[in-house]
Amino acid sequence: MTKLGMLIDLSRCTGCQSCAVGCKVENNEPLGIWWNRVLTIGGDEIDTPSGTFPEVQMHYMPLNCQHCENAPCVKVCPVVATYKRESDGLVLIDYDRCIGCRYCMAACPYGVRTFNWGTPEYSPGIDFPVGHQGDHFDVDPSSGPNRRVYMPDRPRGVVEKCSYCVQRVDNGIEPFCIQVCPTGARIFGDLDDPTSIVSTSVRNGQAQQLLPELGTNPQQYFIPPYTQKGVVPATGNSAPSNLASSAEMIELAEEVGGYIPGFTPPAEGIVPPPPPPDVTKKNSEGGSA
């Protein structure tokens, strides 16, 4: 089986919001709707650190659907509009079936679901859909027929969220946030394949799930900046140094077999993520924009 997962190395995330904006473009998200948010872990406002200078701390955490294996949203959805796809474990929403009861939003511990409260609006001047064009239907037959899991213009009154770019993944292309991340903080691939980049990185990078105590068992992992090799929390009056230096990263890279998430340039052959084997063959939808 395939189990698509994502790993975000928080020590590499610079908070540039490229993934948030890229996601918004690719999935044509209306004003006020963000499937992917980059949260600031630090002060009370975005882009502010905690503490007083010089002892300040700040890092970022991108947050999108965690694609839980034990997904509360899937269990509560009364009409199976949200479901977990068998072939690769993606949690998807059928926009034709959702009744807009928002039970899934109450049930999701991560707050990654968003609702179309009004008729979707876009920035003035952008009166055309951007990103992926054309609807996409689930290619996994076990999900049932006519599962419209992506459409560029979602109707008012349905819940939407990150789908790991199912319209791209089903065409053998990685999610857009992976592609646009300038620091290679995000990697994507098959968690069930022990040799995949994402699996080795999850194993070797001290990866953690978000809110693991809830037992939702997400397919999304994070490498917290604090747990990078050789990191000591900032003490005394010196500048904080809890992020791994390049030298430490390279050292760590050697330890785990030459690869640190996104560190090796794609030209040298480790990227891109493996295409999902089961689904690409059956795919019938058109390409991305």
């Binding site: 919001q17 948030a20 209306p30 004003l31 006020g32 709707i33 963000w34 948010r37 949260l39 600031t40 872990i41 002060g43 009370d44 406002e45 975005i46 882009d47 502010t48 955490m61 947050l63 509360p72 269990k75 509560v76 959805c77 009364p78 009409v79 199976v80 509009a81 079936r97 959702c98 009744i99 807009g100 009861c101 928002r102 039970y103 939003m105 109450a106 049930a107 999701c108 511990p109 991560y110 707050g111 679901r113 968003t114 609702f115 179309n116 409260w117 009004g118 008729t119 609006e121 920035s123 003035p124 109707p155 008012r156 009154g157 349905v158 819940v159 978000l210 809110l211 037992g215 939702t216």
Partner: protein, 428 residues
Amino acid sequence: MQSTILRDRSHFPFYSLVAVLLVVVIIGAYALLLEFQNGLVITDMRNAVSWGLYISLFAWLVGISAGGLIVSSASAVFRIKQWQPIAKLANLIASCAIAMAAFSIIPDLGMPSRILNLFFYPNLDSPLIWDVTIITSYLFISLFELWLLISADNARKKGNESKYLDRERIARGFAFVALPVAVLTHSVTAWIFGLQISRPLWNTALLAPLFIASAIVSGLALVIFVTVIANRYANLGVDKTVISGLARLLSVTIMVDLFLLASEYITSVWPATPAEVSPLLVEFFGPYGWLAWVQWIFAISAFAILVVPKWSRSSLALFGASVLLLMEVFFYRLELIIPAFVNPLVQYPPGTSIGTTTGGEILSGIGVTTVPVNASAPGFSFELAGSYFPTWVEWSIAFGIIAMAALLITLGIHYLPVGPSEKQTNSV
């Protein structure tokens, strides 16, 4: 005969009450139409607080209904003679409340046109499907039970003793089904919330017992409320001892309810772990903390009215206590639902995207506001902590639904023989 007396005595208040309720219902219907046209954007619910007044109202109405049917079927199951005079009335209240509870889900749906998907594609894991199933059955059970009780009565009035005994026997047997279904209805409604690990305020095994206790409080309160009014204006003729018996049971139930609440509080506070204590702090000291304080004040005041003999003898005081309790339970529903959404488990700036535009679309404090819309914070479409206060549309729809339930109950009292049966001695 009884009904002619009833009509003669009650023309004036009956028609003016119906007129007032109709006005409220029409305003609610207009608001609902507006909501269908514009979408839920005209409510104040957003991505952070994604459930609000409608769901609270739903839980409140289900509770009232369950409370009503528990009274009516318990009188049959446990052969509580002194409750039998109000069994039909309690049943009528239960039927009207559950019908409007089911209806109150419709304004909450983003896609009301797809409501039948609930029957086409049910997910048996979902507590919402359990609730749809149990509420639908409950509606039919309570209506059938009401019909049984009324037809038994009619048979006796006509002197058809065998038919009366027959119907009475079926009604009694049926109450054995109705009572557990009534209890289960409200338990399932509690489980909609109580099973969710994402909301620590809800996630307690005590939630279903709490809902049942508060359901009986609100159900009994409404039965007393309606009985006092109907006695006064519709000449219903329920004996005062029946009402004071209900009031005694009510005072005990308040204590059970408050006891359950208190044990929930101490279980959260004593371990002093932030995960347990902070939801409770929000419940009492957060932006919606006044709901919890008012709830306790109302409950204790009503309890005082019910147990001080001088006050509890007065119908007016009982009426006041029942109003306090109806509001108390409604506040409890609000207090449970809104604060649960205020602080999400993953709470870092900029927070949750609200799901609608408030103007421009920016990520930091500086930005160009291009679409100035009804914005509390123009240009910023995130909120770190959820905030919610129902809009006039939500209030109108909620009061419209309550008025519709009241209208159904009023019509039922006026046109159906739900008063106490003729004295047994008269008919035999």
